[in-house]
């Protein structure tokens, strides 16, 4: 029976489908050290829960182009579109590593903590529909709540047990003030933690993150990037750059422009010599192919971070230029000069 998308998402049948959508795409995510402790919840099930949370939030999205790819049964375009939207959702989520860690622990903690993913932010605590929604920690404090901060070792703030202890304590305090069991936004719980403990050493505030968060790179096209350790602060590993240079060389080759590229950029022959080598009667003959070659390279560069304005990195371009020249042969230079 057809029950509608939202209802389908509330049924267990959706789980294996979502899980298979993600398979093979998210294995690459290695959590940074400070996120990994012995009691990590199962990675894939956590990812599926996040994906589910994202899909729940699609309720208000009625994008005509998304409907069009489904109507045309273009599952590749659907996959690409959803993954892109999901990557943005993840990026937002991962802005605050404390939030990310707390959400992860509460999700794994089971029913006792009442984890509830929502469109804008996730909650924990009371789960019944009629339960009171707790809005804001700072407001509560402004209205006179005196928060109690349990005695913990701040260095262990990322451990599951500490987070759950704090979650329990905060919930008891909120319920006490409001006089009933409440649904608590995880974001507000994080405000409470930040208010009571100096957690910046463990969880730097967004914007102050020094080490690159691998988990935040979830644009799929960059799967192989950034996984081999980076050269200085370029957004690519050396290996990824090598691979990219090979792709561009093949792109040039497909247009029969590789010899032209090498004669001009590697052998540094004069235009007259290049034209002669390629069988043109005069030097002007190579103007059109040169312009095509130039356009091909510029378009390629425009797509990549660090390769073009507004974020061009000269060192990166120099390094990449050398990689491109690796495909040229000395023989060609001597043959045509």
């Amino acid at each position: 029976m057809k029950i509608g998308f939202k209802a389908w998402l509330d049924r267990p049948e959706c789980y294996p489908v979502l899980s298979r959508c993600l398979e093979g795409c998210f294995r690459k995510y290695k959590r940074p050290d400070w996120l990994a402790d012995g009691g990590d919840p199962d990675e894939l099930s956590d990812q599926v829960a996040l994906f589910w949370e994202f899909l729940k939030g699609l309720e208000g999205v009625n994008l005509a182009s998304l409907e069009a790819v489904v109507a045309q049964q273009d599952w590749e375009a659907l996959r690409r579109k959803i993954k892109f939207m999901y990557s943005l959702f993840m990026k937002e989520k991962n802005r605050d590593p404390l939030y990310q860690r707390v959400r992860q622990v509460l999700h794994a903690a089971g029913e006792e903590f009442g984890y509830q993913p929502r469109r804008t932010h996730s909650h924990y605590g009371a789960i019944s529909e009629s339960a009171r929604n707790f809005e804001s920690y700072s407001e509560l404090v402004a209205f006179g709540m005196k928060p109690f901060f349990p005695n913990i070792n701040v260095a262990e703030i990322n451990s599951k047990d500490v987070i759950l202890d704090l979650a329990r304590s905060f919930k008891d305090q909120v319920d006490g003030v409001l006089g009933s069991a409440s649904r608590i936004p995880i974001r507000e719980f994080c405000s409470f933690i930040r208010d009571g403990y100096d957690v910046d050493l463990v969880y730097p505030m967004p914007g102050k993150v020094n080490q690159p968060l691998e988990i935040s790179k979830c644009e799929e096209e960059y799967e192989t990037l950034n996984t081999h350790g980076t050269v200085s602060d370029w957004p690519y590993s050396e290996e990824a750059l090598k691979e990219l240079s090979e792709v561009l060389v093949r792109r040039i080759e497909q247009q029969d422009l590789l010899l032209l590229f090498c004669l001009v950029r590697y052998c540094r022959l004069k235009q007259r010599e290049v034209a002669k080598a390629l069988g043109y009667s005069g030097p002007s003959g190579i103007h059109v192919p040169l312009a095509r070659l130039d356009a091909l390279i510029r378009e390629f560069f425009s797509l990549l971070d660090g390769f073009s304005s507004p974020d061009a990195d000269e060192g990166l371009l120099l390094f990449f230029g050398k990689l491109l020249l690796d495909s040229c042969k000395d023989d060609d230079c001597s043959r045509y000069s």
Binding site: G24, A68, M85, S302
Partner: protein, 372 residues
């Protein structure tokens, strides 16, 4: 989408949407060679690990999502509607990019040629600049600087309609000047690609639109029956023209004197005689010519015929009727492939009896400045 998107992320996303092959192409065995070439040179597909993609799961997810959406429709075409284009509009360019049909906004409808003027749409708001009009979260952004003509038959499904209050200023914006974007910037590359995609879509439709326009011009010219009759008879008074309400049908049924009938070498199969009339001069010279009947088929109450026209006439406009001796002529729809000289004509609403006792009647009209 959200403010979190950098301009390059947005550009990468649009680039893939426009140039990476769709599912139907990826799984088609005939396309495997082109897909492999694409993967070699595409900065996105080449860098992806060969993970198995569970398309069944995505298909299931898509099907579930669609349950909450109204079924897309094919209403009468009107300005302000947002349509997808038929998948066959897509295809490979010379750089192994699979140019995918974009969503379009209907700006004008040209009923005489069954055509439309459209503005191309995109979703990524990070790429908005001068000349773009945001149509809101559902429809994306209209490229007022990238409008072109399409055949109504290119439109696939309609996903809604914007309000006239939004459409009218947009139409005015088409004629106003837009600031050029900086050369070699991300926006410049994006707009280059969008123009290429637009040209790819428009070029494919242009031949059909021009032909329809020419057909309309010919119909107009042949609506003046006395003038047509006198110009034909001025060329050769022995040509016998029947009484008719339509100058084209009159010529299609004209009887030529034997001297005007070109005797082609006997072909393998069946041949049908038809009239070629040349217009554009002070008289309308006519000839009787033979076409090879390649196929005549009757299925689901549609008769389809395919004919090959001799090379020297293949640039003309072919008109076709189905004639029953008792009920007379009924015009069909002609499609041509000028590169092969093969034309097909479809006659709908035809019974088995129509097929048995009727026959195709052809007329070829050509414009010629040099009279023969």
């Amino acid at each position: 989408m959200t403010k979190a998107v950098s301009i390059k992320e947005a550009w990468r996303n649009v680039y893939q949407e426009r140039t990476c092959p769709p599912y139907a192409v990826l799984i088609s065995p005939e396309q495997a060679g082109n897909v492999a070439e694409h993967r070699r040179g595409c900065p996105f597909c080449a860098m992806k690990k060969e993970n198995p993609k569970n398309y069944e799961a995505w298909a299931e997810l898509g099907a579930q999502m669609a349950l909450d959406w109204p079924a897309p429709e094919k209403p009468a075409v009107q300005p302000g509607q947002v349509w997808s284009l038929i998948p066959s509009k897509g295809g490979w360019d010379e750089r192994f990019r699979h140019v995918n049909p974009p969503m379009v906004l209907i700006m004008d409808v040209f009923e005489d040629v069954s055509g439309v003027r459209v503005a191309q749409l995109f979703d990524e708001r990070a790429l908005i600049d001068d000349g773009d009009v945001d149509l809101g979260p559902r429809y994306g952004v209209a490229e007022v600087w990238n409008t072109y003509a399409l055949d109504c038959a290119d439109l696939n499904l309609c996903f809604g309609q914007i309000s006239p209050e939004l459409l009218n200023p947009l139409k005015e914006a088409v004629v106003s000047e837009h600031d050029p974007v900086d050369e070699d910037s991300v926006l410049w590359h994006f707009r280059q690609l969008e123009l290429e995609v637009g040209a790819f879509m428009a070029m494919e439709a242009m031949g059909r639109l021009v032909e329809r326009h020419e057909r309309n011009a010919v119909r107009q010219e042949f609506s003046d029956i006395p003038s047509v009759r006198s110009k034909v008879l001025a060329f050769d008074s022995r040509i016998r023209l029947p009484e008719a309400e339509d100058g084209l049908a009159m010529l299609a049924e004209a009887e030529m004197p034997i001297e005007l009938i070109l005797q082609a070498a006997a072909g393998e199969g069946e041949q049908i005689p038809f009239t070629v009339v040349t217009v554009g001069g002070s008289t309308n010279p006519c000839r009787g010519v033979l076409a090879d009947l390649l196929e005549a088929d009757h299925q689901d109450s549609v008769i389809v015929i395919r004919v090959r026209i001799p090379d020297e006439y293949s640039q003309g406009l072919l008109f076709a009727w189905w004639r029953r001796p008792d009920t007379g002529l009924e015009e069909g729809v002609v499609e041509s492939d000028p590169s092969t000289g093969i034309f097909s004509a479809r006659f709908s609403g035809k019974s088995e009896l129509d097929f048995e006792i009727g026959e195709p009647i052809l007329l070829l009209v050509r414009y010629d400045d040099a009279q023969d």
